[in-house]
Symmetry: C2
Amino acid sequence: MAQTRPGPNLSRIATSLGVSVATVSNALSGKGRVSEQLAEKIRGHAAELGYVPSQAGRALRTGRSGVLGLVLPDIANPLFPKLAQAIEFAATAAGYGVLIADSRGDVSAQTEAINRLVERGVEGMVIVPRRATRVSAASCPVAVIDTASTPGNTVAADHWQGGRDIASHLADLGHQRILIIGNNPESNVQNDRAGGIRSGLRDGMNATTLWVEKLERERGSGCSLGLADKVREGYTAFAALSDLQALRALTELQRDGVDVPAAASVTGFDDLIWSPVVTPALTTVAMDMVTIAEIAISSLVETIRTSGTREGKLVASDIDRVPMKLIVRQSSGPSKPMPKTPTDGELPK
Amino acid sequence: MAQTRPGPNLSRIATSLGVSVATVSNALSGKGRVSEQLAEKIRGHAAELGYVPSQAGRALRTGRSGVLGLVLPDIANPLFPKLAQAIEFAATAAGYGVLIADSRGDVSAQTEAINRLVERGVEGMVIVPRRATRVSAASCPVAVIDTASTPGNTVAADHWQGGRDIASHLADLGHQRILIIGNNPESNVQNDRAGGIRSGLRDGMNATTLWVEKLERERGSGCSLGLADKVREGYTAFAALSDLQALRALTELQRDGVDVPAAASVTGFDDLIWSPVVTPALTTVAMDMVTIAEIAISSLVETIRTSGTREGKLVASDIDRVPMKLIVRQSSGPSKPMPKTPTDGELPK
DNA sequence: ACGCAATGATTAAACGATTAATCTACCGAC
DNA sequence: GTCGGTAGATTAATCGTTTAATCATTGCGT
């Protein structure tokens, strides 16, 4: 049993310098009254010894663990890397660590994950809830990232506006018949996006929605979406509600000999990792994860600071929706019989 | 300042039941000597009060924080969701929490991230190093997930064997000229995969390697890889070293009118989220993340248990490479002039 | 010269859980 | 009858940090 105590602690520094622990603590934290020269000496000695304060000791005394939780309930969500990155960055900047809890599985797993975090003493948590789940209030402040229309939402991308931007973009390109491709109508996010698209349609335009999950229940997983047929029916633009669906649409169309964007445009949502890489690169709408994470974390931290840590409180923030940014690439172009408008693709080719 | 102490602690339970804290502690941990009936009563009362042990108190006393670190240095790596999921699952099963530290940026950022974790008192950490970086030994046990050929590697997928499997698969389909598409020749992982492919070639087959990053430095980011030309040169199979490159290859070929898999086959690595979704679905080779994570975590935990927590020790494991699994889908098919071999795609269509 | 304030440091009490050491009955054996 | 053993509980120390309270010294105004 390795009973060797690791590195130096306050009292080692204190005795080594012939002062009291309190003074060392004060010198390092800059809180109490310590003469500048002694403080300097202490800091120097501490650095020299490679002193690392014990979170456990500090947490025990202050009641603050310095850790936040991040609950990502959607299985292997491709947004995860960006989100985790942004959250971790914002949390680090605020002096917090991030404990993850990925609750693949059902709602009970989500609750379990939340409990695990609470047991580990997180001061608050950020939750991206799974489809239309209400977050069962944990016994600590909770920031929710979902949709502006979700009750209890703290902050989220303005999916609705993102949808409108897509619609405007397609309208500018002269498209009239648009097929919206979504996964599941129960997702708040997807509903907002679809609603936004519809709200941005102009006179003479119309849109139909195709829900993939429903289709797959009928025809089997991985089935064809029959998009080439839709092109023949007169659809010229396919607005997917996520880049994953957009990718599926794009490859299916290409596979069936439909030229994108000449014969049909494809757009997505989220600007996932592959979006700039595929050919043609995907026109999409990106969340400002950095801003979202900053707002979520700062509101969360603020709530912790004022209300303390043991209130199952849903965190609110001043700004509950962050603009999405349209990124025009090559997968969207003018509708067939239109004169060439000055598109702003990144690679005019 | 919210000075209200949260939930009940041992002494509250103790006084409430008229026993000592020690007895309560013993009853709940099952360690000391407590009569079964009293233990039962204590457990009941604790549950009733919703007692959650303070990690801080426990950590301070035992010197064990119950937390591991996970360092993911590659920017927005699409493997992250699966890996994080698997690691978190294995760690949870072993009674640990997982603190993430995503060090986007250079090597110094990686070191900083490691230090942050150490300051938070992790007992050990799992690191997926960035390209050919040697992990600067942190002051705690470290498990490295990279490649069997990386010095100090703890456990990883058998990328070499995965490459061989791809080569065999393509050989079975009658392909002779193969273009290997990689990103960066300095990646240990990509080198192993490419080496594996070459080692699996049979008589009469040959392979050339295309490094995308190098090409992009010359022609600009997002440039065409010129794969259609390669097809005309006689290449019938494109073996990408990651699904991201495979996706790029697939869409570029389709865009240029090359039928996949009829005129050319495309394979990838990693079975990323989009691989089953694109058309044609991608033939690829998957890592067994669950097993890798289990081995990494169990070796790490074992090392912590025996060597203690304050040794900058690289963790070793019995099994340092885990087999990859070939997943045949529709993007690979028989080489042009060959008789139809019985392929085993999931959707014969 | 006396009191008051400011400065710079120390003392000591927490925080909550763990655990070695100790104490108290009580039972059986010699 | 005394001694040893033991089950079942308690005592008290400890982990490392923070912080309110205290103490000592010096300077300064009146």
